[in-house]
């Protein structure tokens, strides 16, 4: 029976795969059905994992089995339930309190981390001695890194109109951005093709058994 169910499982997978691929011809009921099933299954999956991996071990289990040491967890539990009140129009305002706690924490942490990682550390990493490179290629690269970063940031400075000589660094910044977008396009091609290979591998291996 297990092998029958396994074969059935593969056929279900094939049905969904071909239903989604049918969109390439044109939008059709098979695609729409598969799309909605995907949304439903993913949402259900998320809910179950949230319950088993987060809410039970980190909240309910502690509150039920070790209440005396975890009384304080009644606060996040209450705030969490208040969050759900957003669905009831007359009590919607109560959901603003947990939202305030979540936003306050997230924003405070984000601000600090972005300041350190994406600003200060990136700034320090740009302040290098370009001549310290081991090879000529590295030295050229280091100069490009410094010039590109400065001109790129200058390009994103929108508070003042850039005219005449002031537009030159901005123009250079655009060149660097174009190079980067070109590289990103190349990598995007690579990523998308990989995903297609994965699906064809499934069809040829698991379904048609053409390849091992």
């Amino acid at each position: 029976m297990v092998s029958t169910m396994s074969v059935l499982g593969t056929w279900i997978g094939v049905f969904f795969t071909l239903s989604i691929f049918s969109f390439l011809f044109k939008d059709n009921p098979f695609y729409k059905f598969a799309e909605q099933v995907f949304i439903g299954l993913s949402a259900g999956y998320g809910l179950i994992y949230l319950i088993y991996n987060v809410l039970i071990p980190n909240l309910f289990h502690k509150l039920i089995f070790d209440f005396s040491h975890n009384v304080i967890l009644l606060i996040p539990a209450t705030l969490g339930l208040m969050m759900l009140l957003r669905l009831i129009p007359s009590l919607q305002w109560l959901s603003k309190y947990p939202l305030a706690v979540v936003i306050g924490t997230a924003v405070g942490i984000s601000m600090l981390r972005y300041m350190q990682s994406d600003f200060l550390n990136q700034l320090t990493a740009t302040m290098i001695n370009p001549l310290a490179g081991a090879t000529k290629v590295e030295i050229v690269g280091n100069f490009l890194l410094i010039i590109g970063t400065i001109c790129g940031i200058y390009f994103f400075y929108f508070s003042r109109k850039k005219e005449g000589i002031y537009s030159v660094p901005s123009r250079i910044g655009i060149w660097f951005l174009m190079i980067s977008f070109g590289a990103s396009f190349g990598y995007t091609v690579m990523a998308r093709v990989s995903l297609l290979i994965g699906r064809l591998d499934f069809l040829l291996k698991d379904w048609l058994h053409i390849i091992k």
Partner: protein, 276 residues
């Protein structure tokens, strides 16, 4: 003969479909050159002492498994070859399944590896960067149990791990947010833990500025190509390597499309000029 744009599109789709399929059926066997960022990741794992506890975060889902699952398998295998012990966590709910699948596949090759001793799956947590920061203070408060509901304190592997600082390195296999970025910010820049990453090719260029003099990132695997390079370094012909022929043929085909598109645009421009 004039072909309308809809038919043109469909021809492109069919040609791409065939170009990707044929090398899967008839492999060519091209080999790759290892790029520096893959080598850096390999060296980081290789230079980590035996018995160390390392953490792999599975921050992706099946949609990007073709690119990231081979990386996960290679990285765990490399760690196990060096007798390192692996903790798996997930910032994406489906990452838990991806981790389990990787361990199950490798257990066939390494049957002596024991759950709770050589590896453990701690499961999924919400919260992204905030959760990573909390792990830096106290792992047990974030992961009271593993996915088998075994309490943290009863898992032998975790006896020496109080916080992220007791972990030798973190590798985030990430398909988006939360993922590598949050691990760099929370684990490396806050607690000084070594962080490397494996990511989908589409995100890879955006993470390269983190490979810098500040060592925010110790290495990066970007896409299927990098996964195949890692397999090559390990001396195995894995799932990424066998798919690289298709990948290469498809890349060449896309270049052909770009060339044809440009010739067509050039001709169109010229005929417009002549028309004037």
């Amino acid at each position: 003969m004039k072909i309308d744009s809809q038919t043109e599109r469909r021809i492109i789709f069919i040609v791409l479909f065939i170009a990707v399929m044929l090398p899967l059926i008839f492999p060519i066997g091209w080999t790759s050159e290892v790029s520096p960022h893959v080598q850096m990741t390999y060296d980081m794992v290789d230079n980590t002492p035996e018995g160390s506890v390392v953490l792999l975060s599975f921050d992706y889902d099946p949609s990007t498994a073709t690119e990231l699952q081979p990386m996960a398998i290679s990285l765990i295998e490399h760690a196990w070859k060096n007798n390192q012990r692996v903790i798996a966590t997930a910032l994406w709910p489906m990452g838990v399944k991806m981790a389990d699948a990787a361990f199950q596949e490798l257990l066939l090759k390494y049957p002596s590896k024991e759950s709770g001793v050589d590896f453990v799956n701690l499961g999924y947590k919400t919260g992204g960067m905030v959760t990573i920061q909390a792990m830096g203070r106290d792992m047990k408060s974030v992961f009271p149990t593993d996915t088998k509901t075994i309490p943290y304190e009863d898992i032998p592997l975790l006896k020496t791990v109080r916080s992220l600082k007791d972990i030798q390195f973190v590798i985030s296999l990430s398909a988006g947010d939360p993922g590598i970025k949050q691990w760099i910010m929370g684990a490396h820049d806050m607690f000084g833990v070594k962080v490397a990453g494996g990511t989908t090719a589409v995100s890879a260029p955006g993470f390269l500025p983190y490979i810098n003099s500040q060592n925010q990132l110790y290495g990066l695997l970007g896409g299927l190509k990098a996964a195949s390079e890692y397999e090559q370094l390990l001396g195995i012909v894995g799932p990424a390597t066998v798919k690289m022929d298709s990948q290469s043929v498809a890349h060449v085909l896309i270049l052909v499309f770009i060339a044809i598109g440009n010739v067509k645009a050039y001709k169109k421009r010229n005929s417009k000029k002549e028309g004037k």
